[in-house]
């Protein structure tokens, strides 16, 4: 009898506690709709409270960049908050520069809206639409990187170095995007190439690797603020590692064909010889164009060949001397590489404002 009573009292305690939480949740969660005002009342949406800004934008067909599907790990989904909660969460700050913080820029995927909010979004993003491309050809170029060529029904105008966002089909449809840099030159507007590295268990890369000829993808873009200076006297230094090759290829091909007197130096690093993708192409270009230099380095195995050994930032430190005139630097690759190269370049006296990078 007293045993049964004990169990009963226990159940009573637990139900009281959960009931309490339920009541509090009911009382304290704000309900109803709030207003999301975009670009000074250009568009106004009435939306549910408590959703993230990124989701709200996507469900209203505004496709701002987001490389990680809202996990807060890519830092691409920045939005300027005009009115509303401007203070970023501590974990957002890793991706925000000092001027971002001053101007109220936040990561939209980490910001839940509880009150009326006004934001400012660049016009390019406002116009971005979901577009279609058809797979034309897909080939493996190294052990884990695949070159995929898509053809387009309508032309895509982009600057070399920009990227697109591919929609990854899955459970929550219109939310999962992954960023991929365009690897083909920008004069080609009716088709483009991507170089995609297969990541074990990765949603986006597995999807793209499994696509067959004739299948369609949906994407938005182009995005990215890289702008190669058109002037002939501004030297160009490109540094890539791994799949960081993709935007560099686009830049090299575009610049060499449109600006044949601009000096271009391209450093590329990999772990093994197999990682030095498109090496033959670049060596051929280097012998064809006097203004183009190509230097590659491998960090791991290296016995029988004459290649440079070591990390790419070592190679730059040893072999690159910055020009006396203007120069522009683009870096693309794994974060460790970017940090190391950045330090070397600053040491060599290149100004931080001339260095642009994308961490993959």
């Amino acid at each position: 009898m007293s045993f049964l009573l004990s169990v009963l009292i226990f159940i009573l305690i637990i139900t009281t506690l959960s009931g309490g939480v339920l009541v509090f949740t009911r009382l304290l969660t704000p309900k109803g709709q709030i207003k999301l005002n975009i670009n000074n009342s250009q568009k106004i949406f009435s939306v549910n409270r408590g959703e993230t800004l990124l989701n709200l934008l996507y469900s209203n067909s505004i496709f701002i960049p987001s490389g990680c599907g809202g996990k807060g790990s890519c830092g691409l989904c920045k939005v300027k908050i005009i009115s509303g909660e401007k203070t970023p969460h501590p974990h957002e700050q890793e991706f925000l520069s000092a001027s971002d913080m001053k101007n109220g820029v936040r990561l939209s995927c980490q910001m839940k809206l509880f009150a009326d909010t006004s934001v400012e979004i660049s016009k390019d993003f406002l116009d971005a639409k979901l577009r279609i491309a058809v797979l034309e050809k897909t080939t493996m170029v190294t052990g884990d990187i695949r070159e995929i060529i898509f053809s387009l029904p309508e032309p895509l105008y982009f600057n070399c170095g920009q990227y697109i966002q591919v929609l990854i089909p899955g459970d929550d449809q219109d939310k999962n995007f992954r960023a991929y840099s365009i690897a083909s030159p920008s004069e080609e507007t009716l088709r483009f190439a991507l170089n995609v590295k297969l990541i074990q268990g990765g949603m986006g890369s597995t999807y793209l690797h499994s696509l067959k000829e004739g299948e369609q993808i949906q994407f938005t873009g182009p995005y990215g603020e890289w702008m190669v200076d058109a002037s002939e006297t501004t030297d160009l230094l490109l540094v890539g590692g791994g799949v960081g090759m993709a935007p560099m290829r686009s830049i090299v091909q575009t610049v060499l064909s449109t600006n044949p007197r601009k000096k271009v130096t391209f450093f590329f690093g990999g772990c093994t010889l197999n990682d030095l993708l498109f090496r033959d192409d670049f060596e051929r270009l280097a012998s064809e164009y006097k203004n183009f230099t190509y230097i590659c380095a491998v960090s791991d195995e290296l016995k029988e060949c004459t290649e440079r050994k070591g990390f790419i930032h070592k190679a730059i430190s040893d072999e690159y001397s910055p020009p006396s005139s203007d120069c522009q630097v683009f870096l693309c690759g794994p974060p460790v590489m970017i940090d190391a190269v950045n330090d070397v370049l600053i040491d060599k006296g290149i100004e931080e404002k001339d260095i642009f990078y994308d961490k993959f």
Binding site: M1, S2, L5, S6, I9, F10, I13, I14, L17, S18, G20, V21, F24, T25, L28, T29, P30, E85, T87, H89, P90, H91, Q93, E94, F114
Partner: protein
């Protein structure tokens, strides 16, 4: 021997550090020790929750759960809720954390930024439950329990902030592949734990 609350507080921070001597609360300890500012935020949240939940759990244990606590009421004589202690503690901690999160979110955005976002991570933190269970096993009075809860939280904060500092330095070290990330963090925690054993001679609460 009965220790004074002040002694218990100091011991909970140094000699009986919940991370280094109990190895409790490891999952959030490892996950959030990458940056010092997040570590500090999480440390404050743990301290806050462990202080208040020990107090709550002490009251519930001594006035409801303890064998014979309800014997004042005649028809409840013989009821024994002690076997349910752990489950009730878990439920109390989880409800407390949820309600506090809701309240903070409602009343102050800046407090929510500093503390609130860490609260959901604490709901199932074993360090917090451990503190409540130790307080029962060691038979602390109310004041001692609160001191113990507060001290354990501070100890956890000390541990995670130390670790965040070390991990920041380690970013530039060459770590053998396979040990990067969690592996090297566990090893470093072990070494830190040994260092903390030095405090053992000062005071010991068992």
């Amino acid at each position: 021997m009965e220790h004074s609350p002040v002694l218990i507080l100091i011991a909970a921070v140094l000699t009986n550090n919940i991370v280094f001597s109990g190895f409790l609360g490891m999952c959030s300890f490892i996950a959030l020790s990458r940056r010092i500012d997040t570590a500090v935020g999480m440390g404050f949240a743990v301290t806050f929750v462990s202080t208040f939940t020990t107090a709550l759990n002490w009251l519930i244990y001594h006035y409801v759960l303890k064998h014979g606590a309800l014997s004042g009421v005649s028809f409840l004589d013989g009821v024994n809720l002690e076997p349910f202690t752990m489950i009730v503690f878990i439920a109390v901690i989880a409800s407390f954390v949820q309600v506090v999160e809701l309240i903070i979110q409602r009343i102050s955005h800046s407090l929510y930024q500093a503390l609130g976002i860490f609260l959901p991570l604490i709901t199932v933190n074993c360090a917090i439950l451990g503190v409540s269970l130790f307080m029962v096993i060691r038979g602390y009075g109310f004041i001692s329990s609160v001191a113990f809860g507060f001290g354990s939280g501070l100890g956890w904060m000390l541990a995670i902030v130390l670790m965040a500092g070390l991990r920041r330095k380690m970013r530039f070290s060459k770590i053998p592949p396979g040990l990067e990330g969690i592996g090297i963090t566990m090893i470093t925690t072990g070494i830190l734990a040994m260092i903390f054993m030095v405090f053992n001679g000062m005071v010991r609460i068992n």
